[in-house]
């Protein structure tokens, strides 16, 4: 139905796609997987008309087409959900969903109809945000749901989804996949990427695997299992995902009592030792992010915090950093990285003092960048703007940036969002290594497996309160019970 034929794409002299062939068929879900920077997003953008191919052909229903802009592609029934949020932050949910295709009654907007339709779409996605909420106040997962609703609104023949589940929890993912199946059954062709291979296995009918801008495998999805996919992506045999838990907890690094972030969390308390990884689990909206932002001086908070036994007061993030406490944000695009700056400036922003010898030592910065590129396997043009890096590589850079400040205590919020399975393994190993160096680490994650596989202890939060603490060998079931409140299932707010 929609196909790329021998498509290449260059940015300047660099070719990032080399002769890609891919064909979508109606009523089928086609999954596209590959490492970070393999060219998945670029492929998808070309299919949806956001970028033209440098050479080769885009064919719709067998006929070659050249979309002058996405408007034309959209008119042909092709729509795309971007990897990075594509919402106007100051507008409301409803305004975003209908942006560019507002319903009108005469010259005026038909607000009731749009609101009703928005409600209906969000209900389909079991998302409970109000249509008139301003998008900037939504959590990441709610934003993603809005993004999906926006795509669903457009009656599509071809739906292109670039890592739609990266910020979703398992429950939300299930809802989304249900919608995808419904669309497929209605005859829509779906192109889907994810770094969560279980989802791919679950939903895909067809599968294409890319590596370094080339298609390395394509065929029926049923012919591959997760393990085979991972191997084909990375191009080598993959060992165990999680490193062994060899923690030797040392002295108490962080002690928190009665931490309250007004409006988000109440009386949170825990202790963390050197060499330990503390996992924080909970449903989306359970206030984990806000709690730890409060701890690190990013939001107004009250409570009793001791770092290495010393009672401290943290009102600003730089105070936290001075105490050796750093927070790695879950939101790399709006809080983590300067998209319009280069890699070097981003890498050293947080630890600039290290390079400050009166003047900034650019040579040392370059060396640090070399080191980071090597350590974190950051792929992409070194001279590019960070906004042009692939999503996963941005995440790696964010990691490198925070670690450059050499914190003693690190709070990592959603560490592997959008990272390919090969790199994930490296990240986990790295986190474990950081712990074994004697740092204290908090990992907030919505991926249950990640928390279980990585953490020495697990804190579970619900409605802004800690509902329990579990040991290293907690089961998913135990976490879910605590996260949802043992007795009730998803009580109304």
């Amino acid at each position: 139905m929609l196909a790329l034929k021998n498509v290449s794409r260059s940015f300047g002299p660099i070719e990032v796609l080399h002769g890609v062939d891919i064909a979508l068929r109606p009523g089928r879900v086609h999954a596209l997987i590959g490492e970070n920077g393999a060219g998945k997003s670029t492929t998808m953008k070309i299919m949806a008309g956001y970028q033209p191919p440098s050479s080769g052909q885009v064919a719709l229903d067998g006929r070659p087409v050249a979309f002058a802009d996405m408007g034309q592609a959209e008119a042909q029934g092709i729509s795309m959900i971007h990897q990075e949020f594509n919402l106007a932050e100051q507008l409301t949910v409803e305004q975003n969903i209908f942006l560019g295709r507002e319903l009108k009654r005469g010259p005026l907007l038909d607000k009731p109809a749009m609101r009703a339709r928005t409600r209906e779409l969000l209900d389909r996605l079991e998302c409970r945000v109000a249509p008139d909420r301003v998008v900037s106040t939504l959590s990441n997962s709610d934003k993603q749901m809005v993004e999906i609703a926006k795509a669903l609104l457009r009656d599509t023949r071809v739906l292109v989804m670039d890592e739609p589940t990266a910020v979703l929890t398992r429950a939300e993912t299930a809802i989304l996949l249900r919608q995808v199946r419904a669309l497929r059954d209605a005859g829509t062709a779906v192109l889907f990427t994810s770094h969560k291979l279980d989802e791919v296995e679950d939903i895909a009918d067809d599968l294409t695997i890319m590596r370094d801008g080339r298609v390395v495998w394509t065929g029926e999805a049923s012919r591959m299992d997760q393990h085979a996919m991972a191997n084909a992506m990375v191009g080598r045999e993959k060992s165990d995902l999680f490193p062994a838990k060899v923690s030797t907890p040392g002295e108490v690094a962080l002690e928190v009592r009665d931490l309250t972030v007004p409006g988000f969390s109440h009386d949170v308390g825990f202790t963390l030792r050197r060499g330990e990884i503390l996992g924080v689990a909970g449903l989306i909206g359970s206030g984990r992010t806000e709690t730890f932002e409060g701890l690190c001086g990013l939001r107004p908070a009250t409570g009793d915090v001791r770092i290495f036994g010393e009672s401290v007061r943290i009102d600003h993030p730089w105070q936290a950093q001075a105490l050796g406490l750093c927070y790695l944000t879950e939101d790399r695009k709006t809080r983590g990285l300067l998209l319009s700056k280069g890699l070097r400036e981003n890498l050293t922003l947080q630890a600039l003092a290290k390079f400050d010898r009166g003047l900034i030592d650019t040579g040392a910065e370059e060396r640090a960048l070399d080191q980071a590129i090597a350590d974190f396997d950051i792929r992409g043009d070194r001279a590019a703007l960070v906004g042009n890096l692939s999503g996963g590589n941005q995440q790696k850079l964010l990691f490198a940036k925070t670690l450059l400040a050499d914190p003693r205590i690190i709070v990592i919020d959603e560490p592997t969002r959008g990272i390919d399975i090969g790199t994930k393994q490296q990240m986990y190993a790295l986190i474990r290594k950081l712990a074994s160096e004697g740092r204290a680490i908090v990992v907030i994650s919505s991926e249950m497996q990640e928390v279980i596989g990585l953490a020495d202890r697990i804190l579970v939060m619900r409605h802004g309160r800690v509902t329990g603490e579990l040991g290293a060998n907690a089961t998913e079931d135990a976490i879910v019970k605590l996260a949802m409140g043992v007795a009730t299932e998803r009580e109304p707010a």
């Binding site: 956001y50 802009d69 996405m70 408007g71 959209e74 971007h82 594509n86 919402l87 106007a88 932050e89 100051q90 507008l91 305004q95 209908f98 942006l99 560019g100 295709r101 507002e102 009108k104 010259p107 005026l108 907007l109 607000k111 409970r128 909420r133 301003v134 106040t137 007004p262 409006g263 988000f264 909206g285 206030g287 939001r299 409605h463 707010a493």
Partner: protein, 329 residues
Amino acid sequence: MTDAAAPAPRRIRMTVIGPILALVLLVVAGALMNPNFLGWDNVTNVLARSAFIGIIAVGMTFVITAGGLDLSVGSMAAFIAGLMILVMNSLVPTMGVGIPVILVGMAVALLAGLAAGLLNGILITRLGIEAFIVTLGSMGIYRSLVTWLADGGTLSLDFNLRSLYQPVYYGGIAGITWPIIVFAVVVVLGEIVMRSTAFGRHCAAIGSNEQVAKYSSVRVDRVRLTTYAALGLLVGIATIMYVPRLGSASSATGMLWELEAIAAVIIGGTVLKGGFGRVWGTVIGVLILTLIGNLLNLTDFVSPYLNGAIQGAIIVLAVVLQRDGKARA
């Protein structure tokens, strides 16, 4: 979950009440200082003179909401006024003094405003030059052109024509003068367009995130261009009201209107970097600015040299009222 969003509404409420509160305080202060302040004459005077900046500021609200800026409106008004007067005067010998001449003059004002706005808009959207630079340039150009048209002096409307035209400023319906009526109409239309049309939403979307708007098939350049064109047209309308008031144009006409209009927009709560705008807020902003001038004339307990200082202080205070004590995050 319900109490999670509590801080947001509270903040919004203050930004809504803030400007109104500032306005109310000014009105109360005025009423206390002088019993005539709330008299019919003074109220209509203040409203009528707000109309020029007000009409322009409504247009400016759209431009700023869409992430733009226009510094040229004041000199554009002067230029249009000059052009209008020249055209009307030159028609008197052939067409005589009569309504048709005035209608032609009005048409000239509207067309010239639209053309000037389009020109700004085209340079900004097609050549992709910063709005600040384009409109700074056209500000100089129009100001110069009016000085040149007037030969350094003042262009005056033919005396008889002026008497005929004057009711457009001084006359009205049921004691409400035309400028007030036109201002009210522009505000109501502006508010509707901003809140209830696709155009208003697109302006906010572009100002909020141009890329997103583009990806959502919003015709970014066209919407932008339209904001400048509409502002030009509104400058034309304001000039139509202005010319009968003073009957002349010179290089001093419309001086610093751009600054006043932008200040009114921002006092009203529109965000200077774009993405959020409200027309009613702009109206409050304009009224606050006009009232400050009016209040300073009501009493004379300060040296007139210090008027500017008081004006400045009140502007800052009016905006402080919109904050809920807390600096923004």
